[in-house]
Amino acid sequence: MDLFKIWTDKALIKAINGTPTERERALKYFFDNKSLKKSIENHIIKYGGTNQDFDDVWQDTLIIFDKNIRNGKFLGESKLTTYFFGIAKIHWLKTLGKKRETVEFELKDFGNDKNEPPYEEYDPELKIQLEPILSQIGEKCKALFLGYAEYSYEELATQGTLGNADAIRKDMYRCRQRLYKLFDAKPELRTFLKSLIY
């Protein structure tokens, strides 16, 4: 029962990179973290946000946090909750900047410190362009890609839902080729990549 489980940062990182069940538990732990939620809510309200703003920032923060943990961007220089809060602060700063384009904001106004987490947002247009492609690759490919991030084919196979390792390997190859074919059909996609770090 998660209710009684005491998570360490190490265990949380491992779980986020773990099986879908472990991952879900760890992320839900953050989602249900009332004190973290309250701190972020207070911060957003303090800097001109509303409850709706908080709701959006809260969800976006978990998305960015998850992405950073999965992609190894968290270097363990702070507690995970501090890291999470840092992402929320930057995200709100950027959101506010977009909302009030004429007003200049400085990070220091938001209590910024030297160890702010890396924050990378994909170009919204790139997301819009990729969405129809993702809907074309099918649910099985999506499931494979979800598992693919951290698992070997053998490990995926032991989870039991995707078939045996050889079949998974072949399916994964087919999915990737399908994806590349769809990318090929949309050459403009590549222009969005220039602003990306990787």
Partner: protein, 302 residues
Amino acid sequence: MTNEEKAYIEQYLDNKMTLAAQQRFEARLESDPDFAKKVDFVRLERVSIDLIFEQDLRKKMKNWKTQNTEGGVLKYKTAILTTLLLLGLGFLLYWLNQKHNNHENKQPASNQDTLPIQNKLRQDTTQQIVVPIANSKTLNEDSLNKSIDKNLPQPINKLKDLAIANYEKPNILASDIRTGSNHTTNEVEKIIADLFNNNDFKKLIIFLDKNPFEDKSYMNYLKGHAYFNLKNFKEAEINFKQALLTPNLERKERAFWFLSLSLLANGKKNEFLTIIQDIIKDNDGLYNKKAIQVKKSLDLNY
């Protein structure tokens, strides 16, 4: 794109190349458009995977939010239902209690066995019995409640148990009460008799305090009974002692008996035995048999 090519590109993207390998990679990237396209595809693939994760997590968050909201609503619903249930139960108990009391109050005046305490005791013979008191509450009872409620409810000890078990409240007639020199029964006397016979002891004490009458001894005798029934045995003892200051021999005999029971209830066994010896000696006395019975019970059990 082969798996090897993909692994090579990922090495670069993850900064896992030596500086020389990185330079060679970037040189090829500049000169080979096909290779550059492959690199972009791997990068797009990574973005796509992130988006698949994002879509998946957004779905999950939506579910969690619904679950939490439903859970919260369920908690509130449960709390409200529990409160209503408890209130309902409370009202039911109150109603039953009122019904029970009304039933007792309607018992005929000649019935000597209507004391609620005794009924309780007969139902429950265990040592630790919580004896509920009080019938109805009036607006003027607050001060009296303060002096009585601190004693209620309380477990009774064996001597108290024995005293209560042998207590029988006598019923009185309005004509027994003489509030003045006129021998015609007046309204005050009727009220006192009604309150006493209907076991409305709290009201009786308040009424007697506000309407003291000349025959103090009889007034104390009635108050003694009232306090005994309210389980305030200390006050009962005091009032029965004061009632003994009467020249009325029959009342004196009664007051002695009830004083002895008050002493017993207060745990004053020796004083009780002293008084009860006199009652036992009087073979024709009203409470002779009762006194013998209590003495025997006391000798056997305590």
